[in-house]
């Protein structure tokens, strides 16, 4: 997890002097009464991999299709490199799309598929041959140029689709679930290939995915979508460590959320009284909320310590019984039922080869650092 190193060197979205490459302004798309995309504004910078992440039906694909020109926005507009794209049909946009089904032309060879867009643009024949050969070499398909799509494996087809979209040197490449059809092993490998390819070509990528792991690996920034809105946009680390809502905290990774009342709210710390936890939560940063307001403290499972002896502090501590253990090899997941009745998820890396002393039905103490919880007000 984390940023692909060196990909987006600076953070252009934090620099007001840098002009965004793609500007999405108050974009809305309605199908009848249903708002698939609801007043989305977004800025994407040159050379970025931006992931739109969300559950199915959240509007991410509709947003992508509007960028490609396949759907007309109900209101709002899209600018690419300063040019207003409203009303520009797909065949005139400096944008290419890699379709989820790849949509390779079955009656054409790999070579013809890749050359298709260049022929359409009346690029000279010699140049087409050169660019197609270079692109096929780049995606490691040199030997398969004369095959038909049905003679290729899933991974090879995915690379043909990518080559076909990239060979036109688009300003923006749209990828709809680019790795969705590949099996898990191949997917992981292809993710890194995709990143290095993007790095070499410097093309701006907008990726749609429902797979948070894929988004975290690929993206420089992620826009989390729900009900047609972008609920949070930021780097994978920001999204994971500093979610701004319970929806994002819960959607990305797994999390334990404790509902509570704000009892102390100082500039340096807050203290929350939570009946769900059966104790108090101490967080080493201030928030701005009304006293006695209902807030939620989110603690990631890997940030919880589990021990058979009682922790020193009364804050950020709980007592419970191990209900279930899932052994995943690299780590184990424990479901601990607190005395309050709430079930908490705790993960521990299996750093030694021998079985843990903690086992089913064992009473345990849970605790975490004051920096670990995130306080959420929505």
């Amino acid at each position: 997890m984390g940023n692909p190193a060196g990909l987006v060197k600076a953070a252009p979205w934090k620099d007001p002097g840098v002009r965004p490459y793609v500007e999405i302004e108050h974009l809305t798309k309605s199908f009848g009464d249903f708002k698939a995309v609801d007043d989305v504004s977004l800025r994407i910078y040159k050379g970025e991999i931006f992931c739109l992440l969300g559950p199915s039906g959240c509007g991410k694909t509709t947003l992508l299709r509007m960028l490609g020109g396949f759907e007309t926005p109900t209101s709002g507009r899209i600018l690419i490199d300063g040019e207003d794209m409203t009303g520009v049909p797909p065949y005139e946009r400096p944008v290419n799309m890699m379709f989820q089904s790849y949509a390779l032309f079955p009656h054409m060879t790999v070579e013809q598929n890749v050359a298709f867009g260049l022929k359409q643009d009346r690029v000279p024949k010699v140049e087409i041959a050169e660019r197609v050969a270079a692109m096929l070499a780049l995606v490691k398909l040199d030997g398969l140029a004369r095959r038909k799509p049905h003679q290729l494996s899933g991974g090879q087809r995915q690379r043909v689709a990518l080559a076909r979209a990239l060979v036109k040197r688009p300003k923006l490449l749209l990828l709809d679930e680019p790795l969705g059809a590949l099996d898990k092993k191949l997917r992981e490998h292809t993710q890194f290939e995709l990143i290095s390819l993007q790095d070499q070509l410097g093309v701006t990528f907008v990726v749609v995915t429902h797979d948070q792991e894929e988004a975290m690996t690929l993206a420089g920034r992620i826009g989390v979508m729900n009900h047609g809105e972008i609920v949070q946009a930021g780097t994978p680390t920001e999204i994971y460590e500093f979610p701004t809502s319970r929806y994002v905290a819960d959607f990305i990774g797994s999390v334990n959320i404790f509902e509570g009342k704000l009892v102390e709210d100082e500039p340096e710390y807050v203290r929350i009284r939570s009946d769900e936890l059966g104790g108090t939560i101490y967080v080493s940063h201030g928030i701005s909320a009304a006293p006695e307001a209902t807030v939620w403290a989110a603690v990631r499972p890997e940030k919880i310590f589990m021990s058979t002896s009682a922790p020193a502090s009364a804050d950020n501590a709980a007592h419970g019984v191990v209900q279930d253990i899932a052994y995943l090899g690299d780590l184990s997941i424990y479901r601990v039922k607190l005395d309050s009745g709430k079930v908490v998820r705790v993960t521990r890396p299996n750093t030694t080869r021998h079985a843990e002393s903690i086992t089913w039905d064992q009473p345990v103490f849970l605790s975490w650092d004051a920096t670990s919880p995130v306080v959420l007000t929505t």
Binding site: F70, P89, Y91, F99, F105, F116, Q120, K168
Partner: protein, 314 residues
């Protein structure tokens, strides 16, 4: 020696049949072959035989091929003149060429009309799709002959079309439409259109429409995407539909006879006239055999297309 019982459920009859080498599966497979032998091969052999006979004023009006002669010899007399005759009289070659022309033009018209219809049906919503397909097949519920007669009522001098046009003041005297090549083409195209639409629809229905979006994404205008993607991918549908129209249209008899008038020189009508008017059974048979021989390559081509179509399915 007793044959081992194959299945517990075998009946007494089944066992007895199995003993002489007849299985239920063999019977099922044999049935269509039996049908073809009885109703296709046998009549074909008879027609082939007649095409090599001499004309005779008798019933039936031809002489036998084989005859026992004196001193125990079997005389075989094959008369090739019936075939030679077809090429000496220009009538037959003209009729054949005209039939091919009419079939070709009709196939082209059916394709021009049928392709947009099949395309429209394939791209419509599933609910309307079934309704539209039903409408395409609806004419089959009435006999072909009745439908052709209905066209006479529409096209004749004081028919529906002329009456409507005259009452609207578009024309002042009736158009001569019936008994013209126009009427014949209307009849053939009308009757064979479903045979074009259905295979085209079956082909287009399998089409992945996202390919068109991909083509547009790569710089194609919609009509270019149609020309470069849809059309080549529907090639097998076009060939299948065209064969289904062309092959029967070559030998078409009823429609030219009823709508085309006396001048519509089609090979099917020549055959009919030879057989019924001239009672020249050997000549008629020779025409029939010649027609069949001409159409066999097209049928084989069609078979080939069909085989390819089913092989290309994932």
């Amino acid at each position: 020696m007793r044959a081992p019982a194959r299945e517990g459920s075998a009946t007494g009859l089944g066992k007895r049949l199995a003993r002489v080498g007849v299985s239920g599966r063999g019977l099922v497979v044999a049935l269509p072959y039996l049908w073809l032998v009885l109703f296709f091969v046998a009549p074909f052999v008879i027609v082939l035989k007649i095409s090599f006979s001499d004309v005779d004023l008798a019933i039936p009006p031809y002489k036998p091929l084989l005859q026992w002669a004196a001193n125990h010899t079997l005389d075989v007399r094959l008369n090739f003149n019936n075939y030679a005759f077809l090429f000496t009289d220009a009538l037959y070659v003209d009729a054949l060429l005209n039939s091919l022309k009419v079939a070709l033009v009709s196939t082209g018209l059916c394709l021009l009309l049928g392709y947009p219809m099949a395309y429209g049906i394939a791209r419509s919503a599933p609910r309307t799709r079934n309704l539209l397909l039903l409408l395409v097949m609806l004419p089959f519920w009435t006999s072909l002959l009745l439908r052709v007669y209905a066209w006479i009522g529409l096209l004749k001098a004081n028919g529906v079309i002329n009456n409507v046009l005259m009452s609207l003041g578009v024309i002042h005297e009736p158009l001569a439409m019936l008994y013209t090549p126009f009427a014949m083409y209307v009849g053939i195209v009308y009757s064979y259109l479903p045979f074009m639409i259905l295979p085209l629809y079956a082909n287009l229905e399998k089409m992945d429409w996202q390919l068109l979006e991909a083509a547009e994404d790569l710089g194609c205008r919609p009509w270019q995407a149609f020309y470069k993607i849809t059309l080549p991918l529907s090639r097998n549908g076009i060939l299948a539909g065209s064969m289904l129209v062309f092959i029967p249209a070559v030998g078409e008899y009823v429609i030219p006879a009823l709508l085309g008038g006396p001048n519509a020189l089609m090979i099917g009508r020549v055959l009919w006239d030879e057989f019924f008017a001239n009672r020249a059974w050997p000549t008629a048979s020779a025409v029939a055999i010649l027609l069949l021989v001409l159409l066999v390559p097209f049928m084989m081509w069609y078979q080939n297309v069909q085989a390819r179509e089913s092989a290309s399915e994932p």
